[in-house]
Symmetry: C2
Subunit: 583 residues, 2 copies
């Protein structure tokens, strides 16, 4: 059977950076050429980054993206890798689409260009547009109606883009067209516990299509999304032939033995379902026989390490892609800021991490000492600014009490962090967790300030799990556990009044998180939550808190999505509404 | 010709308040019955309010909405108005739609129920879903595929829902089915200068359909949207037969003489385009002849009054629908906070409006006196809290300078407002204008704090125009102009350092707003903006400011959309991006 050396370019594109992303393509194509690769596949929307949201409809970006794709094809040839077939995602527009109601302005296409020999030899636009959760593609793109069959080294290769794979169609079309390989560029964000679904889908589609399937995904952070890579190749039985690691860029090279193409000629009328089949013969002779490379198959990360790495990746890229290099945040000695500190040190290095301790009259001694202990363990810089004199100056004028007085302390701290941020150029991090966001247990313009919120999608019970995991991981590797044990074991408190505990205001976190998992993550109605055995009073209390906290969540900084449904673009509800679940 | 007394119920629904919205329907149907009305039409999604965003996909809300519609039909009969045909928007779901990829969960429908004689006699779902600007209906609904022809008093009446009217189809279907009247429930948000487009469209569709057309719209504020009503009826020549006022609830009654229905019988096979035509005979005999009422045709508001009323309505409903009754904000004596004060007094009454003056060392004497003068003129409550002692307490610890020191002052003020808000229950207003939001000329967590931002969609040049208009309007009516003249005429300054002027940091506002109008409002690329004759250096400067201020805009409170493209759901771009328009 003919051989094909395939490369999956799992890269970290930056939204809007056409030149930088094109450089990444060139770099990887040169690497691929040097390694004898015949076909290299880049992720969805490689040249523009993903997702570009309403930027897709800007005529100037469409024009620039198309021009970048054209010049990139030439440049690949000029730089000596024009013989490699490169599949490169980019923003295109439909030539034949009329403008008008219901058609996104400028008819943008989520496309791939197939580059070879200095030119674009084929184009294909995504058929099925992602329209749920964080995806808004029907708003921003028009669908394509063609599927390409590329003959490379005498092997027929079919193309599909991301969401297309989740629908029936491409694999059946690949089968109908007798393609031996289906390649699928993706922009598929990380979600905890999603991995097996992805492999299972690829295996199923490979079996359906009776073809090898190559799935190529982005890595890196983009606003609230983190892309985890996990690029893979499965054979026609659904068995894994190669798999990339997660979260890091990688050029995975996989050698394939594939059935030779049947001698079908281009036929303008060939169709499958609603799709026109376009055949392009790039090279019909099999490549000279060669010795296959050994199979590379990365180990999957264990669950906690995977989530941890998503959080680290999200933070690192948000900081760097927004032009910062260092971060600053309040270190109360509580578990949340302690976990954020450990993530930040892993993401940026201790010399880029600045903690601020702002003790008040109600801060306990162990909180101060826990913060100092963590600074000692990790090497981050800890500064202490007591808030009492500032608090007194406000109270001289305002005489606040109760909740207003508690919030005042949180806001004084925030003003200090923002002042230090403005003075020294650090990005401020908000340290709230998902359980807090869900229930509104935070002070708006207080602990909720910041440019990025690394653990906003992590429920409190998972915060503790991750802290324990990170310490154990350090011990395994003979390193100092970054998180002081006392921080993990003490009962959580906002320390805004004497003896305050979270449990004064919230249900126990194990119960709270279980209800939130049902109501938010799994999107069940209250009746269904109760049917799972929860106390109706608990359910009513939690749902009431969630429904009333929408405004606070809107004001919260962005942070990495790791769950099925984050409190970002996954779940869009009006701020002003009076819908109450009946219990 | 048979007569029909038609009523257009232009009401202020509240999102999620099924019971309250059903009460509104009953109240208006009783009024309609008392006035001899045969057919009363309510706006789109009457029972749930509009837009409900992802709440549409909650099974519990769908179930409750359907149950409310069923029980409402019975209740209308029980309360003595079952003879009136009522067209009531509600959230339904498709019975026949399969679940799966690409189909919104639970297959929600944006529907209307036709109620008569104690039951729902017909249902129709929107065909064309709104999918641009602030509309996300393709995300949240599945489309309907039927059009109803209701025979009422021997007259054939066709139905279409909002966006359907903007596409070809309903009017042609109405014509094909020989309907004499096309009724269209809407949830159509206010936009300055949009009114004539709406009338023009209705007239065109009436002429196309050779029928009378009745357009019924919501009034009131919902998060960032303001609905302006402007319900109207046009005849088959496109001439206005009746028109409601703007922004206020109203039951507009219009008497029509319409051609009798041709004796078509229900025919399951009747279709037009992709739509199945469903005929329902409610009453085939003409109503007894009666004396028509005189025509009601409200005057359109002049442009500035219309925008002003939109701002007042948006603020009033946001405050009340979120359970507040009073507002508080910083009164610097500048034009922005002065305008907000005047809007708030018009919306809520002076006794619900609390201004806080926070003079610093750099506050000018005229700023303090202008704020006091406005308080005197309008009757709002003004409190003064100097910030110097608090500023000194911070600086004792932080020693900030430059921009960090300037921002510190703005943030100290914000903490004071939020403290007073928490203590006394006022909603804090942010006073920034659209030119500031566009360029990022504000202090995050400083002047940008608040629960609502009444003028965030008003460019600075329009801020001045509205101030002058409001004063002139007061003079016309023999009232005291609310805005001190000095506030309007002095050069704008943030007063965060000695002698500071906005013009130190920004282009002159007339130039800035003109470029923003081209780049943001009309969505032109930089080359097209320059082609309009603007200085390329100015364009580059302004676009650079706009592209870098996305994060600040995300953190800004919601406020009423009055322009074509606000900085809210109209224009969604990533925070993290490196796309720069080429000049």
């Amino acid at each position: 059977m003919p051989q094909l050396r395939l490369a999956l370019a799992q890269v970290n594109a930056t939204v809007g950076d056409l030149a930088g992303n094109a450089d990444l393509v060139v770099e990887h194509c040169k690497d691929a050429a040097a390694r004898g690769v015949h076909l290299v596949v880049f992720p969805e929307m490689m040249l523009t980054g993903y997702p570009i949201e309403d930027l897709a409809m800007r005529a100037s970006l469409i024009k620039a993206s198309r021009a970048t794709a054209e010049s990139l094809a030439t440049r690949l040839q000029d730089e000596g890798c024009g013989d490699v077939v490169a599949v490169v995602g980019f923003l295109d527009h439909a030539e034949d689409s009329s403008q008008g109601f219901g058609i996104p302005k400028n008819a943008p296409l989520n496309s791939v260009a197939v580059m070879h020999g200095g030119r674009i030899v084929a184009r294909q636009a995504k058929h099925h547009l992602w329209n749920y959760g964080v995806g808004d593609e029907i708003r921003n793109f028009v669908p394509g109606h063609e599927i390409n069959i590329l003959q490379i080294g005498g092997i027929d290769v079919a193309l599909a883009i991301c969401e297309d794979l989740w629908r029936d169609g491409p694999s059946a079309a690949a089968k109908a067209a007798e393609a031996a390989l289906l390649v699928v560029p993706n922009g598929s964000p990380y979600e905890a516990d999603k991995d097996d679904v992805r492999l299972e889908l690829c295996s199923r589609r490979a079996r359906e299509g009776e073809c090898v399937l190559a799935y190529v995904n982005l890595v890196g952070g983009q606003d609230e999304l983190v892309f985890d890579g996990d690029s893979l190749v499965v054979d026609q039985d659904g068995s894994v032939l190669g798999r990339s690691g997660q979260f890091d860029p990688e050029l995975l090279v996989v050698d394939l033995d594939l059935p030779a193409a049947t001698p079908a000629m281009p036929d303008a009328e060939e169709r499958f379902g609603g799709l026109a089949i376009r055949r392009t013969i790039i090279s019909s002779e099999p490549f000279a026989a060669y010795e296959p490379l050994p199979v590379t198959q990365a180990e999957r990360m264990p669950r906690h390490q995977e989530i941890w790495t998503a959080l680290v990746t999200g933070l690192r890229d948000y900081v760097h892609k927004n032009g910062f290099s260092s971060v600053l945040f309040g270190m109360s000695g509580g578990i949340d800021s302690t976990l954020v500190a450990a993530i930040a040190v892993d993401a940026l290095g201790a010399d880029k991490v600045f903690g601020v301790s702002n003790p008040s009259a109600w801060s306990t001694e162990h909180s101060r000492s826990d913060a100092a202990e963590q600074a000692r363990r990790t090497g981050l810089t800890l500064q202490t600014v007591p808030i009492a004199p500032i608090f007194d100056a406000y109270q001289e004028a305002l005489h606040l009490d109760g909740l207003a007085e508690e919030n005042l302390q949180a806001r004084i701290r925030a003003v200090i962090w923002m002042g230090l941020s403005n003075q020294h150029g650090h990005l401020v991090l908000a340290c709230g967790n998902k359980s807090e966001l869900a229930t509104g247990y935070s002070t708006i313009y207080g602990d909720a300030v910041g440019g990025y919120a690394p653990i906003k999608d992590v429920p409190k019970t998972l915060v503790w799990e991750l802290a324990r995991w990170r310490n154990a991981y350090a011990v395994e590797r003979g390193e100092t556990p970054p998180i002081p044990e006392g921080t993990i074991s003490k009962p959580p408190s906002a320390e805004l009044r004497p003896g305050q505990l979270d449990s004064d205001s919230l249900p126990p976190y194990d119960q709270l998180d279980a209800v939130l998992d049902a109501y938010v993550e799994r999107d069940l109605g209250s009746a269904d939550v109760i049917a799972e055995g929860f106390d109706p009073a608990l359910v009513e209390r939690v749902i009431g808190l969630v429904d009333r906290a929408e405004y606070k969540r809107r004001q919260y900084p962005p942070g990495p999505k790791v769950s099925r449904r984050n409190f970002g673009r996954d779940r869009r509800v009006p701020i002003t509404h009076r819908w109450r679940e009946k219990l």
